[in-house]
């Protein structure tokens, strides 16, 4: 199996040769990969080096927490990716759904529907764990639809608003 894995815009071609060998960017490496104690904590020995990481899927990506850093990886079957690229499909853009990262109380929504917003701008203030948490825009855009009101209690992952 051959995969193309993208982290921070950089592509890595990883081919699984057999249980103990992979090819990364044309280099064959000996490796040993296993989950530890039935958890998404993986021990990887690769050419003698020992790594341990917490690897788990989130939405369509894979999150890797390795030595104090968090990486967001897109793993794609190389064949499918080739087809997709050939067809001119874009994986970027589209609507962004702001969801509540935790249950809490909506304290304020300092934006309005239709408002043009910038990356980093505060969209919702949510009170949880006795703290006021500012939920910010991950990119520039326009506030499309606000689905909650100040004073409303929300559940974890409940949609709060959309950005176009």
């Amino acid at each position: 199996m051959k995969y193309v894995t993208t982290i921070e815009g950089k592509e890595f071609t990883v081919e699984i040769l057999d249980e103990k060998h992979i090819r990364v960017n044309e280099l064959v490496l000996e490796m040993d990969f296993m989950a530890v104690s039935g958890q998404p904590v993986y021990s990887l020995l690769i050419d003698g080096k020992s790594y341990e990481a917490y690897v788990y899927p989130e939405e369509k990506d894979w999150q890797v927490l390795l030595r104090g850093r968090q990486y967001q990886a897109q793993v794609e079957d190389e064949r499918k990716k080739r087809l997709k690229t050939a067809g001119g499909l874009s994986a970027e853009g589209g609507e962004f759904h702001l969801k509540a990262p935790m249950p809490g109380l909506v304290v304020a929504i300092p934006v309005n529907e239709g408002q043009v917003i910038q990356k980093g701008q505060v969209l919702v203030i949510l009170e949880s764990m006795k703290m006021q948490n500012e939920l910010k825009a991950p990119r520039d855009g326009t506030v499309h639809r606000i689905r909650v009101k100040p004073g409303e209690s929300v559940e974890q992952r409940q949609p709060l608003l959309n950005i176009l």
Partner: protein, 500 residues
């Protein structure tokens, strides 16, 4: 002399107090909300009683229920821990009225220091320097505060009169933004302390937050256990604490210790307390406030002095004299504490909730962990997001930092996001290592690094690919199995074998 202690708290501090009681041979009574039935303090206590629903106001803040449980269980003392009812003089009062020993200061000392404005006035009269700010006492209206603000000058801080732990605190850089910030500070203070009253304080720039631990007994002996450096903060919440502070020399340490003892004496203080100071670049120090209770960060002091502060609290509450004189207190090595919170350092430190499915604690020489959670426990949105306190000791500050790095690297928590990566980067930061930081360091001059090591990125890519590949193969197998239409019973057996 009391024999059974009700611990009116939850989480790591309830466990900490329970341990001290057990090591002295005192029975413990835990209380819990509906969300905490499986919490560690319930599991470890001798007795445990339900308080009520998860929300603090329906459980851990219910004085009536706590006193009722004390009566029912025969507890003759109450330890309030920190937070919740720890600094409520009416609670201390109510305990005393019912003949229950309150393990803490007298109600009158709590009152004198609890109202932060009164406290400022009290210590100022005792000749202790305070940060310039509001000098009146009582409930001030927004109009008054706006007037006073002009006199103090900007930047300044709005602080909750009943405050503590950064709740209801706001920084103000100019008059225009002040009304809105007053509103939100009052709202947060109201929801945290049931008291929306606030006061103002000049923001001392480039200052360090350094506090002195004091112990006082009923015989009138007051000593201090030296300082804790608490300048590593985010949103006025302490994240890392150290003892000793690399910023103090012996002379300044002695002076601040003397002033701390004087401040405690000014309110006729008994039991453990902490005097918080701001220390400016020129090493002038100003009284900020006194916390009339055990602090979250007390373990760093315990590790360098060898004094068990909670046991000493109990001893004092039993009417015994302090076990130590001032000259017995020595600083041995250096200790650092990192507060491990369930929050996402890569996403604006938003709190993270969920079940801890797996965890591996760092252990070995010089490492202490205080925690109220364990694998299988759920971090709920009802209480503060602290998972544990990781405390290390080293012969020197440098060795303590190296040990903290080692411990952070070993620490695994699966199921919620944690601020461990933040602490790792902080311990790697040259300014932290050099001791060059003030209370604004984290927010203004420290960033979660953005650029990744390309070699590590490749390893991360390999890990993600292998995990994805494994998952894809497993689901393929699952489909095949299903197609064979295996009977339910065989299925269960196989599933059990797989997950054994």
């Amino acid at each position: 002399m009391f024999k059974k202690v009700l611990i009116a708290n939850r989480g790591e501090i309830a466990v900490r107090i329970l341990r001290a009681c057990r090591e002295i041979g005192i029975d413990t009574v835990a209380v819990f909300s509906e969300a905490d039935r499986q919490a560690l303090h319930v599991r470890l206590a001798d007795e445990a009683y339900l308080l009520g629903p998860a929300q603090s106001r329906d459980s851990y803040l219910r004085m009536d229920k706590l006193l009722d449980i004390a009566r029912k269980s025969g507890a003759d003392a109450i330890h309030p821990g920190y937070g919740f009812l720890a600094e409520r003089e009416d609670f201390a009062e109510a305990c005393t009225e019912r003949g229950i020993t309150f393990i803490g200061p007298k109600a009158s000392s709590i009152a004198a220091m609890g109202d932060k404005m009164t406290a400022r006035e009290t210590v100022r009269k005792a000749g202790i320097p305070v940060v310039p700010g509001t000098e009146d006492i009582g409930n001030l209206r927004d109009e008054d505060l706006l007037g006073i603000a002009r006199q103090i000058g900007f930047p300044l801080l709005i602080k909750a009169t009943a405050g503590g732990g950064g709740k209801g605190m706001r920084e103000v850089s100019n008059l225009d933004e002040m009304p809105e910030l007053l509103k939100s500070a009052r709202r947060e203070a109201e929801s945290s302390f049931g008291d929306g009253n606030v006061y103002l304080e000049k923001l001392v720039e480039g200052a360090r937050h350094i506090e002195m631990q004091v112990l006082a007994d009923e015989q009138g002996n007051v000593i201090h256990l030296n300082e804790r450096e608490c300048s590593i903060q985010r949103r006025h919440q302490k994240l890392v604490e150290e003892s000793p502070s690399s910023f103090l020399d012996e002379e300044l340490r002695r002076k601040m210790g003397e002033v701390a003892v004087k401040a405690a004496q000014a309110v006729d203080y008994v039991n453990a307390g902490t005097i918080e100071f701001l220390v400016d670049k020129e090493r002038n120090f100003f009284f900020l406030e006194m916390n009339t209770r055990l602090q979250v960060e007390h373990p760093v002091t315990e590790m360098v002095t060898g004094v068990d502060i909670v046991k000493e609290q109990i001893r004092i509450a039993r009417g015994r004299p302090l076990s130590y004189r001032q000259e017995d207190i020595k600083i041995n090595g250096a200790a650092i504490e990192c507060r491990i919170n369930a929050e996402d350092p890569f996403n604006n430190f938003i709190p993270s909730t969920g079940r801890i499915t797996h965890s591996l604690l760092p252990t070995g020489p010089g490492v202490r962990i205080d925690t109220g959670v364990y694998p299988g426990f759920e971090i709920t949105p009802f209480y503060d997001p602290m998972i544990s306190k990781l405390i290390v000791w080293g012969e020197t500050r440098a060795q303590a930092i190296l040990r903290m790095r080692r411990a952070l690297e070993e620490y695994r928590i699966v199921g919620v996001r944690t601020n461990i990566p933040f602490h790792q980067m902080l311990m790697d930061s040259h300014r932290f290592m050099a001791g060059q930081y003030d209370t604004r360091f984290v927010e203004e001059r420290f960033a979660i690094a953005d650029e990744s090591d390309p070699a590590m990125m490749e390893i991360a890519a390999v890990l993600a690919t292998l995990a994805a590949h494994q998952q894809a193969q497993r689901s393929a197998q699952l489909v095949q199995r299903n197609e064979r239409d295996t009977s339910n019973w065989k299925w269960v057996g196989r599933w059990e074998r797989m997950h054994r």
